[in-house]
């Protein structure tokens, strides 16, 4: 740092509809370093209305995202990894402040995982699609397609890799996502939002809302225009209520993970892409 120069601090805001608004509630909350010594930043504390706006943005963007070719979606997601790589140092600093044991390693894994899932965009239909030999003169084909708008709850840690692990497969599937970032350490998630905004991901396809998970999750779970709720990273204590709130709209709910294996590459699976996809089966007669 040049002697005597005051650094420009970053304001960590929400990422909704491609923009970076503060919370409509006007609230923010201090994020402290892992040792509790230092306030790293004040971060926007999202409200139910911010969440509502995020869902609206996601719904508006989803059909266009899913409607792109899988090849294009794959490229756009790969582009995200390229931009992430350029921000690796900043992200490492942010996850380090969140107490990550191996910040560079976490960021590297996150980028590699993003690349891995980007590649699934144009392959998941191939491994999960079938042509079904029905007993009659029909063509019958089943293939997965995006379920729509997915709510993702990121785990507290790893603050970047956890979010990436659930976000990337949902996007590769063609969904739009409203993510609740790590409550204690939302910095890397906010930066990921900036990465997404400067990649080619269309506005609204990813929305990141920081704030109090316990306050926001019931609204996300109960929102009727959210098709699936990924609680893999959610605190066990919030699970039952969230799942109950999801029931009236018969959301697909992915339960909290049984164990904490975020760093383990073996946990990557196309099943995580399929978790937020619907199988559509189309019949057509074959005749002259």
């Amino acid at each position: 740092m040049t002697a005597g120069r005051l650094p420009v601090r970053k304001t960590y805001k929400l990422f909704v509809g491609g923009a970076f608004p503060r919370s409509e509630s006007g609230r923010s909350y201090p994020v402290r370093s892992a040792d509790g010594e230092q306030v790293l930043a004040w971060v926007a504390q999202g409200s139910r209305k911010d969440l509502r706006d995020a869902v609206r943005a996601a719904r508006g963007a989803q059909a266009g995202w899913a409607g792109r070719t899988a090849y294009n979606r794959g490229q756009v997601l790969y582009r995200v990894a390229e931009v992430l790589e350029g921000r690796a140092a900043q992200l490492a600093a942010e996850v380090a402040a969140a107490g990550a044991a191996d910040p560079e390693g976490e960021v590297a894994t996150a980028i590699d995982r993003w690349v891995w899932y980007a590649g699934w965009a144009d392959k998941v239909q191939m491994v999960a699609g079938t042509r079904n030999p029905v007993a009659g003169p029909f063509w019958n084909v089943s293939a997965p397609e995006a379920t729509g708008v997915v709510g993702v709850v990121a785990p507290e840690v790893p603050s970047l890799l956890g979010l990436v692990t659930r976000l990337a497969p949902a996007l590769a599937a063609g969904n739009a996502v409203v993510a609740l970032s790590s409550e204690r350490w939302p910095l890397a998630a906010a930066t990921l939002g900036e990465v997404l905004a400067t990649s080619d991901v269309p506005a609204g396809v990813v929305n990141v809302v920081s704030g109090r998970t316990a306050e926001l999750l019931p609204w996300l779970a109960g929102h009727r225009d959210v098709d699936a709720l990924d609680l893999t990273g959610a605190p066990i204590g919030l699970w039952a209520d969230a799942a109950r709130a999801a029931a009236p709209s018969t959301k697909r709910v992915v339960p909290p993970a049984l164990d904490d294996r975020w760093l383990d590459d073996d946990e990557q699976s196309p099943a995580d892409v399929l978790a937020t996809m619907e199988i559509k089966t189309v019949w057509h007669p074959a005749g002259t």
Binding site: G136, P137, F138, P285, A286, G287, T288
Partner: protein, 326 residues
């Protein structure tokens, strides 16, 4: 289905048969475009199978068998046909079951033109019509003037009904106009006789073509449209008849003219016979269940119907030799 689009030149013989691209159909005499919707083969066959599965029992079966007899065109179309054979068949046509006067005569006897005078004489006073194939049956591959002369001479010899083939060569080559015009001329050549136009569905390849050919023949003046000559391996099938019945229904809706349906070739059993009646009844309605609007061209069918009737009367299965083979 095709949109109905008025054509700028509505002459009755000006013809462009519709397909998914040329959104124009054959015209009725008053110049209206006739609908020729596409046909989905799987759906059509499914519906035909469902109709073929109707259970016809007891009184319904007797009614159907009676009606079937009255709708039969008892047919012989062999190179070896002789006056003697035709006379025998005419006797059978007048009194299919000599021992039972409640069994009615058939609708018509169908022969080659040269045997029309024989049949005419043998059927005097019976009410049984004389039908003759004509127009270079069964291929139709003769010069038009020859075919028309064939028709005229059969009518002159006393035929009440003329069965001709559609010019499949022209139709399949895409010359719908020619196929249409030839039917118009055949209709004129028939004079007072009824004209049945044979589509030879087995040669048309698809139900779409059958539907198109049906409407074309009706628009050109056919009194009946008929499935087959009986001279090619693939003859009448229930789905083909269904396809044609649907064309007849739409034609009647659009023009008010009722055209008959004749199933020919391959209809050998009483059960097959009443399956056609079911198709007619449920698609065209009971008004079509009359010899004026429905015929079955067959030779063996009559005897199977008679055997069925014997079973109904006696409660015992009959042997084939219980009925005469003429």
């Amino acid at each position: 289905m095709l949109a109905e689009i008025e054509h700028p030149d509505p002459g009755p013989t000006r013809l462009a048969v519709g397909g998914p691209v040329a959104a124009d159909g054959p015209r009725s005499v008053d110049g209206r475009v006739l609908r020729v919707p596409a046909v989905d083969a799987v759906g059509l066959e499914e519906r035909a199978a469902a109709l073929g599965g109707r259970s016809v029992k007891r009184e319904a079966k007797l009614g159907a068998l009676s009606l079937l007899i009255r709708c039969i065109d008892l047919t012989t179309l062999e190179g070896a046909d002789t006056p003697g054979r035709v006379q025998g068949m005419c006797a059978k046509a007048r009194r299919p079951e000599p021992a039972d006067r409640t069994v009615p005569p058939v609708a018509a006897v169908c022969v080659y033109p040269s045997l029309v005078p024989v049949a005419r004489e043998a059927l005097v006073g019976s009410g049984v019509k004389v039908a003759s194939v004509a127009g270079a049956f069964p291929s139709g591959q003769s010069e038009l003037s020859v075919r028309l002369a064939d028709i005229s001479s059969a009518v002159a010899a006393g035929a009440d009904e003329i069965d001709i083939v559609l010019n499949r060569g022209a139709f399949l080559a895409g010359d719908h106009r020619r196929a249409f015009d030839e039917v118009v001329l055949a209709r004129e050549a028939c004079g007072p006789a009824h004209l049945k136009v044979i589509l030879e569905t087995g040669e048309l390849g698809t139900y779409d073509q059958v539907r198109k050919a049906s409407t074309l023949a009706m628009a050109a003046g056919a009194d009946f449209i008929k499935t087959s000559t009986g001279k090619v391996p693939s003859a009448a099938t229930l789905p083909m008849a269904l396809c044609m019945a649907e064309a007849i229904r739409d034609f009647a809706d659009q023009t008010g003219r009722q055209v008959g349906l004749k199933a020919a070739g391959g209809v050998r059993t009483a059960k097959q016979g009443w399956q056609y009646l079911v198709v007619i009844q449920e698609v065209l309605g009971p008004a079509w269940l009359t010899p004026d609007l429905f015929r079955v061209g067959a030779s063996g069918l009559l005897n199977d119907v008679l055997l069925q009737l014997r079973f109904q009367a006696s409660g015992h299965y009959a042997r084939p030799d219980d009925v005469s083979t003429d």
